[in-house]
């Protein structure tokens, strides 16, 4: 029906199938216009609309197909005629005809231009030389990748704005030395002010990118073959580079419009009114980055473009709508740094005040712009944009707490916990899709959404740039709780019990099988199923902790247990980002004899592994392929090494300081105690990893007070500290007991660890556990020191059983041919290594070939000869 080209069916022609064009088509369909109109689209690029905003994610593994925004079923269902790879070349407004490159001529009743913009390339000599690129389309990106891989080791980006930083990040991800050349005195001059630029600069330089601000590009220097070799800068210096990516801003693509006499702005952009209709011709609309909006601006962001698409579609449907301007708020994660600006970020309003928090050491910069009456007008956040969602929504109103409280870091003074509950219903939470708090609440209360994904589907909130998802989650939780929906405390979708309850069930009923536990004690709907990635390792860990007591196999790869382990435990090694593994043999207490050091050196050399001293006083060997693990371990075991359980939620290391034996201050033999403790608790599976240290005196060189259980020597024995933590939220350990003898110390640690394993939640370190359990440290002391629950005998005998039954996992594995058969990259080509695991040199060692990960596959070599057991014909 809609394909009929009768005179009675009016025709809408859309020129440009980019992000805004696609949104316009969706808006047409939503308003039923695709049923009443013939809709024809001329698309210049060789593929239909895709997510340009996420372009850079190609380098982290997204394929062009993943980026597509066009559901072909949608196009077909609505009878849209989509001409891919066929740009419009001319418009005859008099005759209302559009001509395409293929020669196709289309009559239109309504013409919509959504031609986007083109990257601006400054007119410097040799700007078109081989090795010069722009960064706008998938094709650009493929060309950059190809060139970077084959011909470049250094790349320079012209322009230090938002896109320039993205492009520089992409070059760095491709393994190049990346430079950024920015004419302005700071990075991202449009979005951030001087202070923000400084914070950004420090962080970006720390990542190894070279930044040159305040200099312009004067000339691209080329070699004899005409390819780029460097660039001349305005300060007289020359920068050697193999490729150049121009990212010096964009310009509206308005040539087509100029050629047919449509009015364009002084600095470009097709002039339109508030309905997005061109000011020249009522039959022609312009939307997206090619349009000069009624407020005199050309918007270079996708959210305003979407609003224009809606406005144009509504106008065509004779509904009332207007685009009068949009918020330029943006939040980006550039090279891993949060950068956000919202509202009147530069404080242009009269009489406004700034509230600034800045910590250049950690790359933090936060500024709020406040009006005289306390109204929040805008702001800039660099380094930590946690508060962006809430702050943006408060813009234009007086926040309920003092503004400085909003930018102080957590922990300083009294950080304001300004939750989204304080927001009014009309506050815009998602600015990409213009969704208010009221709409989101409605999704929960009226449309009965109970999860964030459901609310996303229902309201579209959070499906654009994603920056509002955090606030969205908080709102949904708050709304659910307010509606009296009980927040489920169960471990996961499969079990309604907490980890502690499951531990009690396993222990009391001596359950040794996960399936049995799931089928008898799981939630009704989960019984008979395959569980999930949360409860499997949790139950696997509980069974392993209790193995000798409940009669389960003490070996984590035995039978069903193998299927419960996280990948690291399953391969008894640590998975690295390219699919290779690291190997960490145990070095108890950090003490190692020269002979053993030599063995490690020899193995690392023979297998070509990267070696590094870890933060846990031992040596890590990286870059082992899965099929190499058994031969590496055969040699390690032979030399007397054991698994270091660097992969397990189990005891990691017991660090030591050199202590009384050598140190003039030492009062006890801290090395011996560290070794004893490490050997006693090695292999003990627990809710999270366990770390320990022993210091020989109060100077504390082993940092015992930052450990799950730390020991410090005194003149009379040992002090035991518990609940310490390094990591993201450091916590000093609390003193549990003083002046203990060796035997007392060990007995107390036995009890403490077993009580923790019994009562902690999954992935809860001793520090958080101690803070969470009712009664805190006092309660734990009552239980493990004063035996207030009468369970200490049981705790001790559980530990005794663990110690008595410990066996080295690797020794066991290399003696079991059936288990060893699993250590291959390919079941059908056991001798073939995974081709994605490859390495390049760095500082005399290896590092992963990361660019390879983004392509996935180098051009195929013939594989038939390596494939075994295939019955290919």
């Amino acid at each position: 029906m809609s394909t009929a080209t009768t005179e009675t069916t009016p025709t809408i022609v859309l020129v440009g199938h980019g992000m805004v064009g696609q949104r316009f088509l969706e808006a047409l369909a939503e308003r039923g216009l695709t049923a009443t109109h013939r809709v024809v689209v001329l698309c210049e690029e060789p593929r239909p609309a895709y997510d340009r905003v996420q372009l850079t994610s190609y380098f982290s593994g997204r394929t062009p197909e993943d980026l597509s925004m066009t559901d072909m079923a949608f196009i077909e269902r609505h009878g849209i005629e989509l001409h891919v790879g066929d740009p419009a070349t001319g418009i005859d407004r008099e005759a209302r005809k559009v001509t395409a490159r293929s020669g196709l001529v289309l009559d239109y009743d309504v013409l919509v231009l959504a031609t986007g913009s083109y990257p601006f390339v400054p007119p410097v000599p040799n700007k078109d030389a081989t090795g010069c690129f722009v960064y706008r389309t998938i094709e650009d990106l493929l060309a950059i990748e190809e060139y970077a891989k084959t011909r470049a080791t250094t790349g320079a980006v012209v322009g230090g704005g938002l896109l320039g930083l993205e492009a520089a990040g992409a070059l760095k991800g491709l393994g190049l030395n990346a430079h950024i050349v920015e004419f302005a005195p700071r990075l991202m001059p449009v979005q951030v002010d001087e202070g923000g630029g400084a914070a950004l600069l420090r962080t970006i330089e720390d990542m190894g990118l070279a930044v040159h601000t305040g200099v312009g590009t004067q000339e691209i220097v080329v070699g004899e073959d005409g390819a780029v070799t460097g660039m001349k800068l305005s300060d007289g210096s020359e920068l050697a580079t193999d490729m150049v990516v121009f990212s010096a801003g964009v310009r509206p693509r308005d040539q087509l419009a100029r050629d047919c006499g449509l009015t364009v702005g002084e600095r470009g952009g097709i002039s339109v009114d508030e309905q997005c209709r061109t000011v020249t011709d009522p039959h022609v609309f312009a939307i997206g980055e090619c349009a000069l909006a009624a407020d005199g601006r050309v918007y270079g962001l996708v959210a305003p473009g979407y609003e224009q698409a809606e406005t144009a579609a509504a106008t065509i449907a004779s509904d009332e709508a207007a685009f009068t301007g949009a918020d330029l708020s943006t939040k980006l994660k550039l090279l891993g740094v949060d950068v956000a600006s919202f509202g009147d970020a530069h404080g242009t309003a009269e009489d406004c005040l700034d509230v600034v928090y800045s910590d250049s050491r950690s790359g933090l910069y936060k500024k709020l712009v406040i009006g005289r009456d306390g109204t929040l007008l805008g702001g800039i956040l660099v380094g930590d944009a946690e508060a962006y969602g809430t702050l943006r929504a408060f813009t234009g109103s007086v926040p309920p707490v003092a503004p400085e409280a909003l930018v102080l870091p957590a922990g300083a003074g009294a950080p304001a916990q300004l939750g989204p509950s304080a927001l009014p219903d009309d506050a815009v939470i998602c600015s990409c899709h213009n969704v208010t708090k009221g709409t989101i609440r409605g999704a929960v209360t009226e449309h009965r959404c109970t999860t964030v994904p459901e609310v996303k589907k229902c309201t579209k909130a959070g499906t654009g740039c994603g920056s509002c998802v955090k606030v969205l989650g908080q709102l949904v939780d708050a709304e659910l709780e307010a509606s009296g929906i009980e927040v489920d405390k169960g471990l996961c979708g499969c079990f309604a019990q907490t980890r502690e309850e499951l531990y009690e069930i396993v222990l009391a009923l001596r359950i040794t099988s996960y399936q049995e536990l799931l089928d008898r004690h799981g939630r009704e709907a989960a019984r008979g199923g395959d569980g999930c990635e949360i409860c499997k390792p949790t139950v696997g860990s509980i069974i392993a902790s209790l193995a000798p007591t409940i009669g389960a196999a003490g070996y984590v790869l035995e039978g069903e247990q193998a299927a419960l382990q996280d990948t690291n435990d399953h391969f008894l090694a640590n998975l690295q980002k390219n699919g290779s593994y690291s190997v960490v043999p145990r070095i108890p207490g950090g003490e190692i004899a020269p002979e053993k050091l030599i063995v490690i050196g020899e193995i690392a050399r023979d297998f070509g592994l990267y070696t590094k001293i870890t933060g846990g006083q031992r040596i890590d060997m990286f870059g082992a392929r899965v099929e190499q693990l058994p031969s590496i371990w055969a040699r390690l075991v032979d030399a007397g090494f054991e698994s270091g359980h660097a992969y397990g939620k189990s005891l990691r290391t017991v660090k030591s300081c050199v202590g009384q034996t050598w140190c003039r201050y030492g009062v006890q033999d801290s090395v011996r105690m560290a070794i004893d403790l490490e050997l006693r608790y090695r292999g003990l599976r627990s809710p999270h990893k366990l770390k320990s240290a022993v210091s020989g005196c109060a100077r504390e060189c082993a940092e015992a007070q930052s450990k799950d259980f730390g020991v410090i020597a005194t003149a009379n024995g040992w002090n035991l500290y518990v609940g310490g933590n390094g990591g993201a939220t450091p916590r000093h350990a609390d003193l549990l007991a003083q002046d203990l003898s060796d035997a007392e110390l060990i007995r107390l640690i036995d009890r403490f660890l077993m009580f923790y394993i019994r009562t902690a939640d999954r992935l809860e370190r001793t520090s958080t556990w101690l803070e969470r359990i009712p009664g805190g440290l006092d309660h734990v002391r009552d239980v493990v020191v004063h035996d207030s629950l009468g369970i200490c005998d049981e705790l001790e005998s559980l530990m005794a059983a663990h110690v008595a039954h410990y066996r080295d996992e690797w020794a066991e594995t290399i003696n079991d041919p059936e288990k060893l058969a699993r250590f291959v990259s390919f079941v059908n080509a056991p001798d073939t290594p995974d081709p994605v695991v490859a390495f390049v040199p760095e500082r005399d060692q290896i590092k992963p070939d990361l660019p390879l990960l983004s392509i996935g596959l180098r051009p195929a070599e013939p594989l038939e000869d390596v494939l075994e057991g295939s019955t290919q014909r």
């Binding site: 982290s60 499969c494 199923g529 395959d530 990635e533 399953h570 699919g579 080509a829 594989l863 057991g869």
Partner: protein
């Protein structure tokens, strides 16, 4: 010398371009744990068997990181459908359709698998 016909040695087979491609013995697939297989054109497939014996095959490459590791993830059931969680950054993929459950815009190829 035994002449008994082998009836227990079922092969896991993958549907590729209209043909069945044999990959390994069914017995090498541990329920709840995957294996990776190499295809003649260099692609990699992650194969799984659930506790009820059903077989699944999806592309082995984790689209979020680029590493070929999906076969090494943990499997499970979500709303009655089988999935694997990437061992690297834990995104879950439906084993039947290849769709990512945590990001609608992402999917990996899914293959038809049988044992015979």
């Amino acid at each position: 010398m035994t002449l008994a016909v082998e009836t227990t040695d079922l092969k896991v087979q993958l549907h590729l371009d209209g043909e069945w491609f044999a990959v390994c013995d069914l017995s090498t697939l541990l329920p709840g744990r995957g294996v990776a297989a190499l295809l003649p054109d260099g692609r990699q497939v992650a194969l799984f068997r659930d506790r009820n014996g059903r077989l699944y095959g999806i592309d082995n490459r984790d689209p979020f990181t680029g590493a070929a590791v999906l076969a090494r993830g943990l499997t499970g059931t979500h709303q009655g459908r089988p999935f694997v969680a990437s061992p690297l950054l834990k995104q879950r993929f439906d084993l039947e359709s290849g769709r990512c459950l945590d990001d609608e815009s992402v999917r990996v190829a899914a293959y038809e698998v049988k044992a015979s």
